[in-house]
Subunit: 201 residues, 2 copies
């Protein structure tokens, strides 16, 4: 961009590489940082540098945990139900489910979904350790909470074929109208699902 | 948040402090960074650390420039019209006007607007150096390109009272309907301005 020193360009480019941040937002963020005291940019820079060395994956559920910890907080919490396992795609999904306050079991993070187009097969996800966890025998229900997308559905179906022989109950999150939503604005597929899954009043 | 190691929380908090980034986007960005190779977070961290030491303000127009440079690229460009001066609130506004390609004069960055409520008076902005530049006598037109907001208008009026005795032409950006906009969705004030400023076809 005309009249812009290289360090500012570099910062704009670095922001642009983040998801959901376009060129305009990136410039706005960079110029905001320029106006702020050095503390602001230093805090973000230090958090960015620490993130990789200070975190690791829980060896049981593969959620993000502090480096050097034997297991994550959720796996370590003995008050949680060991018979229910919620399988999610990404660590962020654990937070989202936790925020609802409606689940008190354990988690398993797949770190992705099956995607033949992108060449992602079962061996690229944390599916084998999931099967091992279920094989241990304590788990009675596996709630497959992958996204309601084509890949999420395919992954759920694959997990069902693998888990069914083990005799556990396998469930999937309900599809239907979002709470507070409007039938008028619901897409056709959601409405079809909501009809098919209708419940007695 | 439950089950989240401190470094991840720190990164989410640091992202949340940026403008326009709420808790959800901040978590999404932090987890995106976690999934990426270390290079991504390092590039952003380094750009953030470099930004303060590697940049300074142009002593003539107060636009952002590389540290140690005598003047910014625009002030150094002898092909640009020295008789026209565009006064903007922030360095980002220089980029926005430059991107239009419709202005070939010089700039002056105020670094803010007058705001009695926030205790920002003329002495807090780069107004005195602006008056000195105009007093030198080369400038024939000052285009006041502050935002079309209450503070932007007040700043423009203040500048007019200061600049009028110097005998320069003082203009302000036109108000009216945005190009590609729809009358139906225009707010009342914009429509009033568009009516008052109507032009012969």
């Amino acid at each position: 961009m005309a009249g812009l020193p290289e360090p500012v360009e570099a910062l704009i480019n670095a922001f642009e590489r983040l998801p959901g941040i376009g060129p305009k937002t990136a410039s706005r963020l960079a110029f905001y940082i320029l106006r702020q005291p050095e503390e602001t940019s230093r805090a973000l820079a230090e958090a960015l540098l620490a993130i990789k060395t200070a975190t690791s994956l829980c060896p049981i559920c593969f959620h993000i945990t502090g480096a050097g910890q034997e297991k994550c907080e959720i796996c370590a919490d003995t008050r949680r139900d060991e018979t229910q396992l919620c399988v999610v795609e990404e660590p962020l999904d654990v937070l989202v489910v936790e925020r609802t306050g409606g689940f008190m079991g354990r988690y398993h993070v797949l770190h992705g979904v099956l995607s033949p187009i992108e060449g992602i097969g079962p061996e690229h996800l944390k599916i084998r350790p999931l099967l091992e966890r279920v094989r241990e025998g304590k788990i009675r229900e596996v709630i497959v909470a992958t996204n309601p997308s084509m890949e999420g559905d395919a992954t759920a179906l694959y997990l069902r074929t693998q888990l069914q022989p083990m005799g556990v109950r396998i469930t999937r999150l309900a599809r239907g109208l979002p709470v507070g939503g409007d039938i008028e604005y619901a897409d056709q597929n959601t409405l079809l699902r909501a009809l098919a899954g209708r419940q007695d009043l």
